[in-house]
Symmetry: C2
């Protein structure tokens, strides 16, 4: 078993894998069942180490029945934050982030103006504003501490990042982080079991 | 003269010093005159090296009469971009930027909702929306390539940053960059002439 320690690949997981119904379908009908199924499979893959930033894990805990999750199996899902005060990121990212924000802020302004000019009933206009504004300013952007945690942890660990969040994937690309199509998550796990068997590690 | 080369302090300048009427008042009544006055003074300060990112210089050129600026004197104002693809910034900045944006985006949404509910005449409501939205989303934030250029160049050169932009000053603080109250710019220059004389470098 000893050499296996040096071959282990690391994988960083996002909540979306267990919460997003389309993505989790192959693992289970509910977030709780999907997480349990994952942990059960993960226990059979000695060549992979799974990580989740605590901020993401907390998010996930809002969607599952805590008491049904086996503590035994949590040994296969490491909770770890990135080293926020030691890590550095390339400066050109600041330019990209600032550009991105600028464009979205302008788009948000146009959406707001449209809503003011709208001749729809007030409630309808407000609903439409909220939806369009959110689309304009939130989608495809890294807009939360949790998103940054995922990216930095994957960078720090040189890990594969698996998420259904397109904004995070876009930034993973910029940072040279490996990522996987989220709908292939289960197949990837099953493939890893086979690979581990081939390596004589079952 | 030789040892002076090693004592030179570096200073990064923003357009606002020459364009913002309150700030440039002590240098000259117009941007062109303020820039000329500055260059004339700078030529008498052998202990300082002045820098301006080309993006900022381009901005400034929109406010001055290019043909009146002496090419001779431009030898005292270096144009240089930061090394965008070599520099790195601390990762915790990403968290601060993302938090900052999130808060502003939410504020922008509230401003937009208020405008939709406003019972003022359409044109007035739109004007108010634009002003409030700009205040909510733009003020005190680094929101342009030029802002990032100023900060990174000051970091790279370990320079003193002089700007009237409060958003940039806020971020200079986060990054440990030295900065000066912009209204003290001329006094700082005059003090530097005296200091240079005391050092026997006139």
């Amino acid at each position: 078993m000893a050499p296996a320690r040096f071959n282990k690949d690391r994988v960083v997981l996002d909540t979306s894998l267990f919460v997003n119904p389309d993505v989790r379908a192959s693992l289970g009908p509910t977030p709780t069942e999907a997480l349990e199924a994952f942990l059960f499979i993960a226990a059979q893959i000695p060549i992979l180490e799974f990580y989740m930033p605590p901020s993401i894990f907390e998010e996930l805990m809002n969607f599952v029945q805590r008491e049904s999750i086996s503590g035994d199996l949590l040994v296969y899902l490491n909770q770890k934050s990135p080293r926020r005060h030691e890590l550095t990121t390339p400066a050109f990212l600041l330019y990209e982030l600032v550009d991105d924000i600028r464009e979205r802020v302008n788009k948000g302004m146009r959406v707001a103006e449209q809503a003011v000019r709208s001749e729809k009933p007030l409630n309808e206009a407000i609903q439409e504003l909220r939806r369009k504004y959110r689309d304009a300013l939130r989608e495809g952007i890294i807009d939360s501490k949790e998103d940054v945690d995922l990216l930095l942890l994957a960078m720090e660990l040189d890990a594969l990042l698996i998420t259904a969040d397109q904004g995070v994937v876009k930034w993973a690309d910029k940072l040279g982080i490996r990522w996987l199509l989220p709908e292939k998550f289960k197949e990837y796990l099953m493939g890893s079991i086979k690979k581990a068997e081939l390596l004589g590690e079952e």
